[in-house]
Symmetry: C2
Amino acid sequence: MPRFSADGARVLADLHALRGIGAYKTGVHRPSLSPPHLESIRWLEAQLKANGLTPAIDGIGNVIGTAGRRKALLCGSHLESQNHSGWLDGPLGVVYALEAARVLNPVLKDAGIDVAAWCDEEGHFGPLLGSRSYVGQLSDEEMDAAVERTEGRRLRDALATAGFAGRPRFKAEAGRYIGYLEAHIEQGDLLEHDKLDIGVVTSIVGIWQFKIVVSGVQNHAGTTRMAIRKDAGVAAAQLLVELHRRLPRVAGPRTVWTVGNITLVPGAPSIIPGRAELLFQVRDADPQYVARIEAETRAAIADANRAGPCETAIEVLRTGQPAHMSATVQEAIEAAAAAHGASTVRMPSGAGHDAQFLSFAMPAGMLFVPSIGGISHHWTENTSDADIVRGAHVFVDTCARLLAA
Amino acid sequence: MPRFSADGARVLADLHALRGIGAYKTGVHRPSLSPPHLESIRWLEAQLKANGLTPAIDGIGNVIGTAGRRKALLCGSHLESQNHSGWLDGPLGVVYALEAARVLNPVLKDAGIDVAAWCDEEGHFGPLLGSRSYVGQLSDEEMDAAVERTEGRRLRDALATAGFAGRPRFKAEAGRYIGYLEAHIEQGDLLEHDKLDIGVVTSIVGIWQFKIVVSGVQNHAGTTRMAIRKDAGVAAAQLLVELHRRLPRVAGPRTVWTVGNITLVPGAPSIIPGRAELLFQVRDADPQYVARIEAETRAAIADANRAGPCETAIEVLRTGQPAHMSATVQEAIEAAAAAHGASTVRMPSGAGHDAQFLSFAMPAGMLFVPSIGGISHHWTENTSDADIVRGAHVFVDTCARLLAA
């Protein structure tokens, strides 16, 4: 079949246009449903209209631009960013989808690309709200309760301010699409380290989130002798060091775990902390490794409780089964990469993506482009222009192959 | 000389009246210049007037009730509390002072008690603002910059709301008072543990406050392999555990150190912390031990920096020389305790108190009553009624002895 290519300059120009909306240093600050995020949605609406797609926005802030073709592939990603974060995380996949529509829709007869921007993949109000809504995994009750994690704004209020409140929510219809394709920056250093062009995603890891609570005794930092203290902060530090020592023994080759936050209560300079809370996250594409990490963590906590003087408990906040990507899509990405002279590797995604929920409703796939230095979720995140353009070529050609199949 | 006593029931009634202002569980929540704190100031004004003292409030919120006697002893403490904290920390010393004025002023000829409530001993806006202002150690510039640590309210705004802005600030005049006496709960467990009635304070420890900053690399918690991480949270925990191991070797018998707060940046579940900040405090009545603790802490940090992968720095926020209490006052407390059959022990104060700054302007002393379980800076803080009443007797009698001398 003929090889399709992207217009690299157009793709870069679009990405830089989005970079200018909510710009922060060399990255962006575009939290979900914030003014810059809403501006980026309006930007996308205009682009969709200008290229023959009909945009619509639903009651959770998802944007879908439809071409109205009988045979359709859904492509997309997200437009909002983490706080003070990178310019490509999300927009790359949306612009690639737009580019695929621009290249393919005019030349294909009754097939084409629809473009999606899912709201709040970054989880400002809750994990992957938009894509979960689309596949029927977001209840009205969860929306009622959802609160933005930085400033405490209620999701319902934010949707009302945006003008989206009360609209119906888009739902995946059986058979509407032949599949879903999403491109993203790798957010790790594997492609760069191994000098590879394209990551072909095999599965998206599950995320298990735990809360660890250490209970001690709050007291005065000046008058309480060291010998009688029950300092929850010291106990939390000891547990974290112990986990760092013990968990590598039971981890798989790609298991990762992170204590992303520690809160000491009351957190004042002159008060011995009576309570410490740790957010503890574990990820692996293979749940058996997560089970081993959880068991070892519970064993370390039991040991700490036997030793005293504080009491530690662990609570499961969220478990996540890994999502498997379609073999057909993986093969199409590899064929398109070969046609463009791009090297590939099959790899799991360590990060969560909208594709993991789309995969519950249709065959789904993802391709990765390299991240410079593996940096992600920080404003210094970046990818070379050459890698961005190469990825766009492979993306457009993969779409063509899937629609031709 | 004749023995003077307090009216125990009146003292307890006053303390319970204050307990009802900003009540929180069995304690109080009465932050500096908050509505309940202002209500407690109005309560004190009314009590002072009703007992022949003339109350005045100055531009930092200090209250002084004057009896206008030629020979005067200044007595007091503070009315505000830590957040969600105990009912006696501060009010005990104010009510004892009020009681001494009620008992002694009517019977003494040209001598008497003036009563002070210093604003913000608890440091909501800054350390010991009121007593520092009184001895000339608080600049207008520091007041301009002061911000409340919980809610970020500016001191100047809070003073304006209270109606205190623009008033002159009281300043200690040479020779005005023969001395200063303050009573306080011990906030430790020494008196209870040794079954003693009264602590005679010899010195108030200096407080050295440090900020330790650990710099790592912020990155994605899913895609960044464990091997290449520079996790500032893990490094902070390792340092805290190492300090806990090493510092006892160089500490004195009463040295205490506390990490009261840890902040991970950005503090999100899916982001590896790029930065950690620890508030590290050291207290001792003997500065040589503090110097040894600081040196050992710097050595531990240097070792951590050699080992990598994060970089740690330490900054001195505040140093404090210990304040020595007047020998005359200590002897008067012991004589009064003996007259009331109360046992005593000389001890340093591990906590900071207004008396430490008053001691720069006049002979100052403090007496402690026992704290149940040594609990302090928590709403469960308490002292038995018998100990409260015994302390009031000793306080009133100490005042009489100082005024008679």
